[in-house]
Subunit: 322 residues, 2 copies
């Protein structure tokens, strides 16, 4: 059983990571998007990292995966009474993480060290790693101008059509020692691009200077899992954005987007007809059910992904020997 | 109907202030102790100011006057799960005030302006004024050493015997324009020292450089309300501290403590026997029920205090004419 590195963010990323965690435990490292991080009421909010922490700690709400189960909003209610700000509904339980993170960052500790400590306090054995310790900010270029992802998502409810994305600071960012350690693991078994938004959950990670090269360093198979099923996004606005950017909304477009990086892609059984076209582009394909309704689905998909990675590696080895 | 200025802190101070507020509305100014303020998880906690805000906004818990009604502790529960810190049980609703105060202070706004804005947002017409804008910190000297009031109260549960108090920074503190405006009001009718701990709720206010002189500037009667009834404190550790400091635990000792400042003192009916001795010391006395169980008690006591102040003033005027 080797080291598995998963990349992603959002609820989709957290769900697959949870399945992988049940299979690999401490051998899993998750590199999480921080391009959507923002400050709110003086608190450093890291939505994708927290979603990942809740999922791996087993305390995520079954429906709203981005918050802890049983979350309450008493503080938010009082902020409302006090006249705001209330654009972001800060949950009471979530505040505990925000406060601890704020305190640690004020003490000039690195985001990675802080996240690992939060994970450890939550009893998580896997390594939850922010994509880097430097600030990288996803900028959404839209018909209504350029803005942070937070403003696009919260203030504008993802309404303006997107024209493109930028990852400010990614070129100057340095990979953390912890990310490099995970990707350079001698027993690296697979790198998994989780099913999440390509533009603001995965690309920010891939944009970090040196990340793409590091992903391929050990030669372990790199496998993507499509966030698009039957022309629709699993969750969120990926399909809408693909359309606005003039892309086909399909698992094939996802495969094309990552084709220079990945060896294989896992698509949904519903999209099996696309497999041949994707393979013709040089990317291996596995078609299985990918919609994760519950813990069992998450485990099954994780197992399918790792089995697929093993098959990809074996076929490559056979081809190399031939 | 003139301006009334009340001084104090804690629940006792908030209760009487609430009664005075019902009688004088926007004509009330409350000068609140901030010597117990402290930072916790990066939040500026101002216990007496918040207690006062909850009381005047009519949202204080009927039993635990220091927190809003219906307070919950979901954030605290998550902090506990995360391994702390949890010495201070931060309420979810209270967090809203802490967060807003923190943000405003980071923007370098003065504590008085911030408090007035919080009060306004809570619909309070009275002026709630921190005793000054400079940091003044109550230091408790005890058998176990010197410490902040927070450490004495929270970490040591008020257990070590006290040897004395210091109000660090009080000598260098400046009275705020808002406090001076209130105390210099042309229509100042009465100054009321609320029934609260003399050592860490009232003395810190009185220790602020220039406060005692400002209290007497307009010549309005200064009236104290004893926090001691029948040798016991209304609430908190006042009796314990008086004993440890070698003082008599009585309304008479309270009158003596403030004798250079006050014209009269309101004591409990149960202590009527002490009235003659106090009067012999040159302080006028009113003995009425002072224990405030409910809003009606608070209103009655407030009315008694203001009527007593009016009588004191009239007697002084008659004496001056004679």
């Amino acid at each position: 059983m080797g080291t598995v590195v998963a990349l992603g963010g959002q609820v989709g990323g957290a769900k697959l990571a949870e399945g992988l965690y049940r299979l690999r435990g401490a051998k899993l490292a998750v590199i999480v998007n921080t391009g959507d991080d923002y400050d709110y009421l003086g608190l450093p909010i890291s939505p994708d990292v927290d979603t990942m922490l809740y999922a791996l700690a087993g305390i995520a709400d079954a429906n709203k995966g981005w918050e802890p189960a049983g979350e309450s909003f008493a503080c938010h209610g009082m902020l409302t009474r006090l006249g705001g700000p209330v654009e972001v509904p800060l949950g009471d339980r979530a505040l505990a993480l925000h406060l601890l993170r704020a305190e640690a960052l004020r003490a000039e500790r690195a985001p990675t060290a802080v996240t690992l400590e939060l994970a450890q306090r939550l009893g998580i054995e896997a390594r939850v790693l922010p994509m880097c310790d430097d600030p990288v900010r996803t900028v959404v270029h839209t018909e209504s101008g350029a803005m942070s992802f937070r403003d696009y998502f919260i203030d504008l409810k993802c309404e303006p059509a997107v024209l493109g994305f930028q990852y400010g600071g990614a070129d100057e960012a340095r990979l953390s020692d912890e990310v490099l350690d995970a990707l350079h693991a001698a027993d690296l078994e697979a790198v998994v691009l989780c099913p999440c938004n390509p533009y603001h959950a995965l690309q920010p990670i891939l944009a970090v200077n040196g990340m793409r090269a590091a992903l391929r360093k050990r030669g372990a198979p790199v496998i993507a899992v499509s966030p698009i099923i039957g022309g629709r996004a699993l969750q969120g606005s990926a399909a809408k954005m693909m359309q606005e950017l003039g892309r086909e909304v399909s698992a094939r477009a996802i495969a094309m987007q990552y084709r220079k990086l990945i060896d294989g892609i896992v698509i949904d059984s519903a999209d099996e007809a696309l497999a041949e076209g994707i393979r013709a582009g040089g990317v291996e394909v596995l078609a299985v059910p990918t919609f994760m309704r519950n813990a069992d689905d998450r485990l099954k998909l994780a197992r399918a992904v790792l089995d697929f990675a093993r098959d990809v590696r074996m076929r490559r080895e056979v081809a190399a020997d031939a």
